[in-house]
């Protein structure tokens, strides 16, 4: 491939799933209008959803899912050892995701409720992958936004800077002229969650649950104050903050 007179090598990519629904990987095969161009950028070495090849000479690893078993840690470390660039792909990989709902219950109780008497090997908590390996880039989202994925892959291919928006979802929400859900009496995590999803949830009149994690430099204390000032439930707020596990450091800091 040639771009502006430079030869661009196809990115040797592998995609790997851990504990998750594989919905983010499926997004890769989405957005048919640009799928051929997107695939043309890639030399897929290992990718269960798209190809039957199983090769281990990839440079870029997309890692999807959270870590909930010890054997997953070993597998993840092996991927890290091979990959030049490791991308935490999707909310589960970035933060532990919805799977982290189990974190607040004793492990035995979770196993009993879901699997009955079966013997199950699982950790007490669902972990983000950066608990075990160094992550080079994160693409959060439940599921990821294919446009953003394409943009980041193109940036890697053309060696352009890669960045997610630093500001919160409210910016995009206001640009879509949505009525603020706080004005309708709901707790929305938009003011503290990272933008980049085009405020898709509040645009559909559903509150933001922060699947993209915290924005940069958020004002958590002021956010809590806002919920109190509006006489909305802080329990509900805490539940929402815990939903995707992206706000643990703030939740713990509040006690």
């Amino acid at each position: 491939m040639n771009h502006l007179g430079f030869d661009i090598e196809k990115l040797k990519i592998g995609s790997f799933d851990f504990t998750c629904c594989e919905g983010c990987q499926l997004q890769l095969a989405n957005k048919e209008s640009t799928l051929p161009e997107f695939l043309a950028l890639l030399d897929i070495r290992n990718f269960r959803e798209i190809s039957s090849e199983r090769l281990d000479d990839y440079d870029i690893a997309l890692v999807e899912g959270s870590i909930t078993r010890q054997d997953e840690v070993e597998r993840l470390k092996a991927i890290r050892a091979q990959a030049k660039v490791l991308v935490a792909y999707g909310t589960c990989a970035c933060f532990g995701g919805m799977n982290a709902q189990k974190n607040k219950f004793p492990k035995e109780e979770c196993i009993r409720t879901v699997y009955g008497d079966k013997q199950i090997d699982t950790m007490q908590e669902s972990h983000k992958i950066s608990d075990f390996v160094t992550v080079d880039y994160s693409i959060p989202g439940c599921p990821v936004n294919k446009e953003e994925v394409e943009r980041i892959v193109v940036s890697i291919a053309t060696r352009s800077p890669i960045a997610l928006p630093k500001y919160p979802v409210c910016v995009e929400c206001k640009q879509r002229l949505n009525t603020c859900l706080f004005d309708l009496g709901e707790v929305c995590l938009g003011p503290i969650s990272r933008a980049g999803c085009d405020a898709v949830c509040p645009s559909g009149k559903t509150v933001c649950l922060g699947c993209r994690g915290p924005a940069d430099g958020i004002n958590y204390d002021s956010f809590v104050q806002l919920v109190k000032d509006k006489e909305l439930s802080t329990d509900e707020m805490n539940e929402k903050l815990a939903f995707y596990n992206g706000f643990t450091e703030y939740l713990n800091h509040e006690g």
Binding site: T34, K166, C170, V171, L177, A215, D216, D221
Partner: protein, 359 residues
């Protein structure tokens, strides 16, 4: 300017015909708030029935119709190691109905920023020239303070302005286009009584303001109070969410992003409206942030609005619509911040000049 009066049903018929024939935007109720209050926005309208003629205020201003939140500035194509650029200033004509005097004044301010400098924006110009503006007066809301900013009346920047004088509207016609459109509808020259009703209406509006923000001498105050602790106090509340700038009719800052399309054959340069409250507004290459603290950033928003920047002749660019104050989830609003600043200064004046004590 030409003045006419028109009956309310006839005006409605005129608006109906106009918006049916053109791509139009006007106030529409989009939601009902927590306390039962209607929430309005400037939205596409295709008949008079869709327009909320008696609306109070829209949550967001109409600025995005002249300066979209996202706008493609140019497209680049790459072929055979070479590139070409494609720029288009296409702006289809639109009708903008129902703007308040403060909103029209805001557009006049944007005109100065976007069109008067050494580099007028052709994108803005194309839209502005193709926008037909109909203004309407109204009784101020309890928190409107455009009168304090002296932006509660307007004599230019619109094609047609309708003042409500009871049974009729008093029309100020400011363009030949508007005059020609109106020819097909029944209007009359204002009588002496109509003139009196208009003056009465203006008086009522003027006397209905409940919020006054004292802005005289504010530019100097702001300079003196550069290091005031109030910036930290209010900054500590700020969520850095940019909501204020998005809804504001005069905030015009933007960021430019370039993206190579997935096929690597083309790319686009896009403008996105931004806000000086956002955490990386003053961040430069290399990562240094000139305004790392919330208070620093909030301060500059107030500086720009109440002190003015050189680019717009040091004019105050706030028109006093209080959209930012209503929308701010952290309870930050111009009235309270400015009052706080004044209080600060006044208490400081009393403490630096105590009566000398003899020992």
């Amino acid at each position: 300017m030409i003045y006419k009066v028109i009956s309310k049903p006839e005006f409605r018929a005129f608006v109906d015909a106009l918006v049916r024939a053109n791509t139009s935007y006007g106030p529409r109720q989009v939601d009902t708030g927590r306390n039962g209050e209607p929430i309005y926005q400037f939205m596409p309208v295709s008949s008079a029935d869709e327009i909320a003629f008696d609306y109070t205020v829209t949550a967001s201003s109409a600025k995005h119709l002249l300066m979209p939140f996202r706008e493609e500035l140019s497209k680049f194509s790459f072929r055979d190691g070479n590139w070409s650029q494609e720029v288009s200033y296409d702006a289809p004509p639109i009708v903008l109905f129902g703007l308040r005097p403060c909103d029209i004044n805001a557009i006049n301010l944007l005109d100065e920023v976007m069109l008067k400098g050494p580099y007028p924006s052709p994108y803005y110009l194309a839209r502005r020239k193709n926008t037909f503006i109909i203004g309407m007066d109204h009784l101020p809301l309890p928190d409107c303070f455009c009168k304090s900013m002296n932006r509660h009346t307007t004599d230019h920047g619109f094609n047609l302005f309708a003042s409500d004088i009871g049974e009729k509207y008093f029309l100020s016609i400011n363009s030949s286009k508007a005059f020609n459109f109106l020819k097909e509808f029944e209007t009359a020259d204002p009588t002496y009584e109509d003139d009196c009703l208009l003056i009465e209406r203006r008086k009522t509006i003027k006397q209905s303001f409940q919020t006054n923000v004292e802005v005289t001498g504010l530019p100097m105050f702001l300079d003196l109070e550069f290091d005031s602790p109030i910036w930290e106090k209010w900054g500590d509340k700020c969520l850095n969410c940019g909501t204020c700038a998005m809804v504001c009719p005069t905030c015009y800052c933007y960021n430019v992003e370039e993206h190579v399309e997935t096929g690597l054959g083309s790319s686009s340069r896009e403008k996105r409206l931004y806000s000086c409250n956002l955490v990386d507004f003053a961040e430069v290459t290399g990562g240094h942030n000139f305004r790392p603290k919330n208070g620093d950033r909030l301060k500059y928003r107030y500086y720009h609005h109440y002190r003015g920047f050189a680019v717009n002749d040091n004019q105050q660019i706030c028109v006093g619509c209080n959209r930012c104050g209503r929308a701010c989830l952290a309870g930050i609003n111009p009235k309270d911040v400015i009052n706080d600043l004044r209080l600060e200064k006044e208490s400081c004046m009393t403490c630096v000049s105590p009566s000398p004590q003899k020992s």
